[in-house]
Every structure is written in structure tokens, then in C-alpha cells.
């Protein structure tokens, strides 16, 4: 029997395709983003599957080395710019930030819609580059390979990233203004939910780092089209300069890809352990500290690129410094759980998975910040495993956790808890089986970006591929039960988790203006003990 929401809400207030493609409602735009990034997630995931299939055997059997180069390049480009960077900010940031601060919408609803169109336009360029033959430069577009030697559709790919970059900038600008100017009466900075803090810090990075990427990629495009040699050593250019400019964006971009996840986990842990967050000020401060220090560590990607050893030492020390605020966060999440009444719902399972996997990813980051070890494992699977623990083990886990936690609010329906717990555990097991062997492979010396490898690495590679297939099941199953819940799921009450956030003080799904009357905030976030 199908279940239907009775009250008028943002989903039913207007119907027809125009009401979606010209909407200014942040909640509807969030759903547009949701569909878009989900599409790109599965595109990028398809490339990952093909990569893992090829690596099942030591010799090349499915693809030539040229095709393999294209597969890992397109996997990286799609996953970084069209899934990870937009994922939590544009979907959950869009949906939740106005609701969490008690506002009716973002400050600039039209820019918000424009931001979605830009992401789609950028994605179209990317898909064009893929369908017309692919890109083989790696997601990093290192010169002079990308500017002079690569024989593929580099310019289309660059334009796609450039355009989607403006989508990021507009999103960031919108969030910063909204959080500054549209908070409800009583919603002081020290009462902001930590998710809002994390989106704020992410937005600052988006606004300040993305333009540098845009101009860097423009320079590569100009060099490629006109052959003038901006980064070409034969004409006086410096390839290392490209790496500096690129990582000046791309290292902070790593924090774009993890800070929103940290914000989500703070919400999930408090809600499902029914505890006030431990050390709120430190949690908010560490978010800002990570964002600030994140701008100063880009050189740790270039330890073997020929930069001055003194520069490397400084970058190494600064990279260690990032561990301090990160560790504060892990300890505080753990301390929040202490004496909490923990319920192992699917969102909590994802949050716990995040804390564990982020810790592994963070600690191996310290290995890589150590110059001597980095020289040993540069460009090996150790690096691949490290950043997948952060990006997939961290960000994607948080994304899935957020999806389950706020699904009742977004859709007005409850998902099936049993299936959700099943897929959360499947993802955790599959993830570790996929990526833990890669730490070992990398330490033993298997380089990244090769389609063939010595036979003694096969056992670990087969483990990794087996894990990837389990992981794939874990990602596909939610697609079914979440869509199923739209028709057959139980109707969600206003506040199914008995959580304290403002977003739960309004019907599910919310009305277009979010609140029947503007809320007035009288206490800090996460006041669980008082409520209980």
C-alpha cells in the first residue's frame, strides 16, 4: 500500500517540470544537485570498477595502457570535481543550512540555481570529453604532459572543470553570506550547529582556492591551444610552477572534501548518542584551524618534485600541524559517545565508520608528511589507500550517513532500517577489504597508474578487487530501498530521532518557507541532557 504525505510541502506546492528547473527554493535545488551528483558518482564508480577488473591479474588483459590511463584519469576527474567537492555542500548544505539557522532560504536563491546549471554545464563538457575519446593526463593535469604531449580532449575537460569551479565559488559565496546575515534571532555563532560551522569553513576555502585553480587551468589551456610555453622549459617556462599553483588549490580542496563530512558526523554522533557534543568550542575552532592550515601545506605533494629541501621541511612541519585539530575532533567525538545512550541506527553506523576510517587515513597522512617515508612511497598504492581512506572512508561514509539521517526530513518517509544497517555494514567491510591491501601493496612498492604488475602482488590485488565488488553492492542497495521508501515507506513524523536541531522543529517534508513561523533560538546546539 502506498503512503502519501497529506500536508502541503515544498515537494507538492507546485508541480510540473518548470517548477523544478526554474525553482529558487533551496530544498528543491538541493534535490537537483542530489540527482546530479548521484549520476556522476555512478559514472566515476563505473571507471573504478573497470580499473579493479583490470588489476585482478598481473598481465594486461582487458585494456591497453592508453585506455587504462584514460580510465584512472576520468575516475579521478569525475569523482573529485563532480562528486566529492559538490556532494555534501550542495546537497545537504543547501537543504540544511537555511533550516539549521532558522532562515527561509539562502541569501541568493537565483545564484543558487545558477550554481546548479553551471555544475551541469561543466558536467556536459566532461561527458563530451569522455565520450569523444577520453582524457589521459591523470586528474592532476601535470605539465608539460597535459600542455604538450597528451593527445586527448584535455581542453574540453579543462573547460568543464573551469565552469564547475564557478559553481563552487557561487555556492561558497552564498553560504558565507547566508550564515553571516540570515541567522534567526538568538542563533549566535556559539549556538550554530557544527555542520553549519563546517560548511562555513568549506565555503571560505571554495571562495579563496577555486579561483587559483581556474586561472591555472586557463594557463594550461592557453599554452595547449597556442603553444606559447607558459610551463614549457624549452621556452623558459617552469613545470614546477604549475604544480605549485595546482596544489595551492588542490590541497585545500582536500579539506573541501572532508570538512563537511566532519560537520555531518558531529550531528550524527550527538543525535544518536543523545549527548551534548564534547568541547563545542574546540570542535568549531578545530574546523577553522584545519581550513587555515590547509592553505599552507600544499608543498607536501612535491617532496620529490625538486623543490628546495628547506621548503620541504617547512611543509612537512605544517602538515604535521594539521594532525592536531584533526585529532581533537576524533577525541571529542569519542568523548561525546562516553556515557551516551547510543542507538546503532544506520546513520550512527556510518558515523562510527567515519571516525575509524578517518583515523586510519589521518594517521597514514602523517607517514606521508614525513619526508623520508614519503620519498619511499611516493606514487605508490600507499598514497592511493591513504587518500581513499579520507575521501571514501571519510567523506562518502559521512555523505551516506547524512542521507539516512535527513532522509525522513527530505522525503517525508522513513527508510527501512534493516536494509540500511545491512548496507552500512557491507560498505564498511567492502571498503576495508578494497583499500587496506593497497597500503601493503604500496609499502611493498607497487606503483600507482600501471595496468600491469609483477605476479607476486596478485593475491593482494585480488583481495582489493573482491572488496570493490562488495563495496559496489553496498552502494547500489540504498538506491533501491530509498526509492522504494518514497512510495511504501512509513510517513516520517516531524522529529523521528528526537533531535534538537531547528530543522526538526518543522513538518517532514518542510513547507516552502521552512517554518510556519520564524523560530527564536534560546539555547545552545545539542541540548540533549536537558531534553532527556
Amino acid at each position: 500500500m502506498t503512503t502519501t504525505v497529506e500536508h502541503e510541502n515544498y515537494l507538492t506546492t507546485k508541480l510540473g517540470w518548470k517548477s523544478w528547473f526554474f525553482t529558487r527554493d533551496h530544498k528543491r535545488i538541493a534535490l537537483l544537485f542530489l540527482l546530479t551528483v548521484t549520476f556522476f558518482f555512478f559514472v566515476g564508480g563505473t571507471f573504478a570498477t573497470l580499473i579493479r577488473l583490470e588489476l585482478m591479474t598481473p598481465q594486461a588483459d582487458l585494456f591497453t595502457s592508453e585506455t587504462y590511463n584514460k580510465l584512472f584519469s576520468m575516475h579521478g576527474i569525475i569523482m573529485v570535481w563532480f562528486f566529492l567537492i559538490p556532494s555534501i555542500p550542495t546537497v545537504f548544505g543547501n537543504f540544511l543550512v537555511p533550516m539549521m539557522i532558522g532562515a527561509r532560504d539562502l541569501a541568493f536563491p537565483r545564484l543558487n540555481l545558477l550554481s546548479w546549471y553551471l555544475l551541469v554545464l561543466g558536467g556536459v563538457f566532461e561527458l563530451y570529453a569522455i565520450l569523444s575519446g577520453g582524457i589521459d593526463t591523470g586528474w592532476t593535469f601535470y605539465t608539460p604532459y597535459s600542455s604538450q604531449f597528451a593527445n586527448t580532449h584535455v581542453v574540453a575537460a579543462l573547460i568543464g572543470i573551469f565552469v564547475s569551479g564557478f559553481s563552487s565559488i557561487l555556492t561558497g559565496l552564498n553560504f558565507i553570506t547566508t550564515i553571516h546575515k540570515l541567522r534567526a534571532p538568538g542563533m549566535t555563532w556559539s549556538r550554530l550547529p557544527l555542520f553549519v560551522w563546517s560548511i562555513y569553513a568549506t565555503s571560505v576555502i571554495l571562495v579563496l582556492a577555486t579561483p587559483v585553480l581556474a586561472i591555472t587551468l586557463t594557463l594550461v589551456g592557453i599554452e595547449r591551444l597556442t603553444g606559447v610555453g607558459i610551463f614549457d622549459p624549452n621556452l623558459g617556462g617552469d613545470p614546477l610552477l604549475f604544480q605549485h599553483l595546482f596544489w595551492f588549490y588542490s590541497h585545500p580542496a582536500v579539506y573541501i572534501m572532508i570538512l563537511p563530512g566532519m560537520g555531518v558526523v558531529s550531528e550524527l554522533v550527538t543525535t544518536h548518542a543523545r549527548r551534548r557534543i564534547f568541547g563545542y568550542e574546540f570542535m568549531a575552532g578545530s574546523i577553522i584551524a584545519i581550513a587555515v592550515i590547509g592553505f599552507l601545506v600544499w608543498g607536501h605533494h612535491m617532496f620529490v618534485a625538486g623543490q628546495s629541501p628547506y621548503a620541504s621541511m617547512i611543509f612537512s612541519i605544517l602538515s604535521f600541524a594539521v594532525a592536531i585539530p584533526s585529532a581533537i575532533k576524533v577525541f571529542n567525538w569519542t568523548a561525546t559517545l562516553y556515557k551516551g545512550s547510543i542507538s546503532f541506527t544506520a546513520p550512527m553506523l556510518y558515523a562510527l565508520g567515519f571516525v575509524g576510517l578517518f583515523t586510519v587515513g589521518g594517521l597514514t597522512g602523517l607517514f606521508l608528511a614525513t619526508i623520508a617515508i614519503d620519498v619511499h612511497v611516493t606514487d605508490t598504492y600507499f598514497v592511493i589507500a591513504h587518500f581513499h581512506y579520507i575521501m571514501v572512508g571519510g567523506m562518502v561514509m559521512a555523505y551516506m550517513g547524512a542521507m539516512h539521517n535527513w532522509w525522513p526530513k527530505i522525503s517525508g518517509h522513513l527508510y527501512d532500517e534493516g536494509w540500511a544497517q545491512f548496507s552500512a555494514l557491507t560498505i564498511f567491510v567492502g571498503f576495508n577489504l578494497t583499500f587496506f591491501p593497497q597500503f601493503v601493496l604500496g609499502y611493498l612498492g607497487m606503483p600507482r597508474r600501471y595496468h600491469a604488475y609483477p605476479p607476486e602482488f596478485q593475491v593482494l590485488n585480488v583481495m582489493s578487487t573482491a572488496g570493490a565488488s562488495i563495496l559496489a553492492v553496498g552502494y547500489v542497495v540504498p538506491l533501491f530501498y530509498l526509492i522504494w521508501s518514497l512510495w511504501y515507506g512509513k510517513l516520517a513524523p516531524e522529529n523521528p530521532w528526537q533531535a534538537t536541531g531547528l530543522e526538526w522543529q518543522t513538518p517532514s517534508p518542510p513547507p516552502t518557507d521552512n517554518f510556519e513561523e520564524s523560530p527564536i533560538v534560546t539555547e545552545e546546539a545539542y541540548a540533549y541532557e536537558r531534553a532527556a
Partner: protein, 213 residues
Amino acid sequence: MSALPEHQFDDIEQQYDAAYSGMWIFLSTEVLFFGGVFFAYVIYRSTYYDAFAEGSRELSVFLGGLNTGVLLCSSLFMALAVHAAQRGRNKQLIRYLIITELIGALFLGIKFLEYYKHYKEHLIPGLNFSYPGENASQMQLFMVFYFILTGMHAVHMLVGLGVLSALAILAYRGKFSSHYYNPVDIGGLYWHFVDIVWVFIFPLLYLVKRTGG
């Protein structure tokens, strides 16, 4: 002449505040956008100082200096336009906006004249670059950055002219008053920003080392 706030704002002051901070944040993005090229340019300028000085001497400091003056004048009229808008003097506002635009167009005209001279002198990389002497390839690098920086600036000028035209049309339709002039203010911020960028471009490109060579 309605000054009703959009539905997400409580009152019109909040809407103005939000629009201001939105523009300032956008300008900080722009600083980093130009900053990336400035950074690359400064690195090469210090690595190939002699070649870049040679390149700099190929540019006309007269035309560049003239253009700096022209652009600063346009900023003055932009400031006058904002002032007129605050006082609700609509005719003055329209007049100043148009003068600002004309001066901006004059700037672009002079810039185009310079580009044409470079074309005649075979100094356009990727098109007809030929330069005698051993520093030719570094000199080409200088010209590449010259065209990228001034080109990016010119594109921003064109956007600015579009913004000012839109403001002038709105003013002509009587949309602004002393209670509602926020778009003029914000358009002005953008125009001044584009001017300031030129104030950095001019010495960096035209005044590397005028003597010697």
C-alpha cells in the same frame, strides 16, 4: 519604486547587507583569480629579469600611463554617480553613469590601439611573434603574460560596461531613489575593483626597467 525585501529577508536593510557582503566575497575571489597570474608573472620576472625588462621597453609607457589616468577619471565619475544615487538625483546619476562608460570605452580603445601596434611589430605570441636577439623565448613569455593580464582586465572592463549599462537603463526607468540605490553602490564596488587591478598591472608590466637595453 517599491523597496520590499525578497521573501528570504526580514527587511530591506538585511537584504542590502547581504548584497554588499556577497559582492565583497566575490571580489575576494577575484583577487585570488588575478593573484594566480600575478604570482606566476612575478616568479618569471625575477628569474628572467633582463628579458622582461627588454619586453617592458617594447610597451608604450605613454599609452599605458595615459590609460591609467583615463581609468582613474572613470572611477571618479563612478564615485560621483554613487553620490548622486544616494541623494536621489536621478538625472545626475544617469549622466555620470554614461560618462563613466564613455571613459571606460576610451580606455578599451587605447588598449586596442596598443594591441594593434604589437600586431604590427610582430609581438603577439601564438600569432605572429618574431623577435631578434638571444632572449627571444623569455621575451615571448613576457608578452604572453602581458596579453593574459591585460586581456583578463579588458574582459572585466567589458563586464563592467554591461553592468553600468544595466544600471543606467534601470535609472532611466526610475527604479532608484535615495531609499533604494543599493545596486548602484554594488556596481560601483566592482568598477573600482577593476580599476585597482589596473593600478597593479601598469607598474608590473610597463615599468620593469625603462633605462638601458
